[in-house]
């Protein structure tokens, strides 16, 4: 589903990624590890199509609407409520039966009570749950998750475990994290950036 050959990316004079090779088949799970600043987030942005490679090749066999991207930032409007944000994204992603789908996700991630609160007033962990809802909203075939467990409490992390367990194998994953213990068992391949 994703093929990278000698992939590289510069920011100005700074070379963040160089000569990265990997392949993720349909239903695969690539675990990307590495210290801070090693280019994990850049790699996911490249796969999502937000950035273009400055060297090498990258082929992603998924349309924009089939990719679920969880970034370091939640990618939602701070002054809108959780519900308003998901409704806007649901429209843009043309999610069928939008209301039902949003309601189901909010329930599942324990956000139903907080659905009418502005994002700015949510805690870091609650915002991360909302970000997960946003990434999963359109039931994407390819999931690009950047530090998915960051900010989540025990209960939240358990919810995410269950979610990943239910999707793994059917969906393709690229997960970047510097604490891989939690998802190691699911991974079919690993890429270590230096």
């Amino acid at each position: 589903m994703i093929t990278a050959r000698r992939l590289g990316r510069d920011f100005g004079l700074k070379r963040v990624l160089r000569d990265v090779d990997f392949e993720v088949p349909h239903g695969g799970f690539l675990l990307v590890t590495g210290p801070n600043g090693s280019g994990k987030s850049t790699l996911l942005s490249l796969c999502a199509g937000l950035l273009a490679p400055t060297a090498g090749e990258l082929a992603v066999e998924a349309d924009r609407g089939e990719i679920g991207y969880l970034a370091h930032e939640p990618l939602v409007y701070r002054e809108l409520t959780a519900l308003e944000n998901l409704d806007l994204y649901g429209r843009l992603y043309r999610v069928p039966e939008r209301r039902e789908r949003i309601g189901m996700l909010l329930e599942r991630f324990g956000l139903w009570e907080a659905r009418r609160e502005r994002v700015a007033s949510l805690s870091r962990g609650t915002a991360q749950r909302l970000a997960l809802c946003r990434a999963l909203l359109h039931d994407p075939r390819l999931l690009l998750l950047d530090e998915p467990y960051s900010g989540l409490d025990h209960a939240g992390a358990r919810l995410l475990d269950d979610e990943l367990d239910s999707l793994v194998g059917e969906r393709t994953f690229v997960v970047a994290t510097h604490a891989p213990q939690r998802v190691e068992a699911l991974a079919t391949a690993a890429l270590s950036l230096a």
Partner: protein
């Protein structure tokens, strides 16, 4: 139809954000009225009609700039713009939705500014209203594209005016001409031409500004 649906949803979101925070429109209103008062003192008492209309246009231009500088503030927080760019909708819908929002804010400011101008300086004719309406479209179309560019730069508050002003000089020519001469038709047609050329150009090129 889904295209217009996207545009509508995005524009509605901008209006909702403004209604909730009331950051931009009140500032634009106060700014445009204050500027008119400043101009009263800056103009000699026997100033011509052309000078007064000219100053009205300067006030409107800078008010638009004030709104445009804030146009992508909500999208820059939490990298929302990247979230919108990833959605499968046409990227130009993001531009068009924002343009509708900017035009709405401009009209809100002008609903106060034009009566204030009529009160302080001279009556407002239909030509002036038509010219302002046409100018709003051009200012919003070009300004939104440039604001998206400036949002990616370092000194974005400084960069936007520098990019924006040379491009909108023709709007000032058309606006002043339409409201200060006996033959407003030519100038209104010119404003329409400007709007058409730059709206099409901005619509077609927005995608390149927000993607790589």
């Amino acid at each position: 139809m889904t295209y217009l649906g996207d545009v509508f949803a995005l524009a509605r979101k901008d209006l909702l954000l403004e209604l909730r925070s009331r950051d931009t429109v009140p500032a634009m209103l106060l700014f445009v009225v204050s500027t008119l008062v400043v101009f009263h003192f800056a103009l000699p008492s026997e100033a011509s009609a052309t000078a007064e209309t000219g100053l009205l246009w300067v006030a409107l231009l800078f008010t638009a700039l004030l709104g445009l500088v804030r146009a992508f503030v909500a999208e820059r927080e939490e990298r929302v713009l990247d979230g919108l760019v990833l959605a499968p909708c046409d990227r130009s819908a993001i531009w068009l939705g924002k343009v509708i929002g900017v035009v709405a804010f401009l009209v809100a400011a002008e609903v106060v500014a034009l009566p204030a101008y009529a009160l302080f300086f001279r009556p407002v004719g239909w030509e002036l209203v038509a010219a302002v309406a046409l100018a709003d479209l051009g200012l919003a179309a070009v300004g939104t594209l440039l604001a998206a560019m400036a949002a990616a730069g370092r000194a974005r508050e400084l960069l936007l005016p520098v990019l924006f002003l040379p491009l909108v000089i023709p709007i000032v020519v058309g606006g002043v001409g339409a409201s200060a001469t006996d033959d407003p038709g030519r100038y209104l047609a010119f404003l329409g031409l400007y709007d058409a050329v730059f709206a099409i150009l901005s619509w077609a090129s927005f995608e390149y500004v927000v993607t790589e």
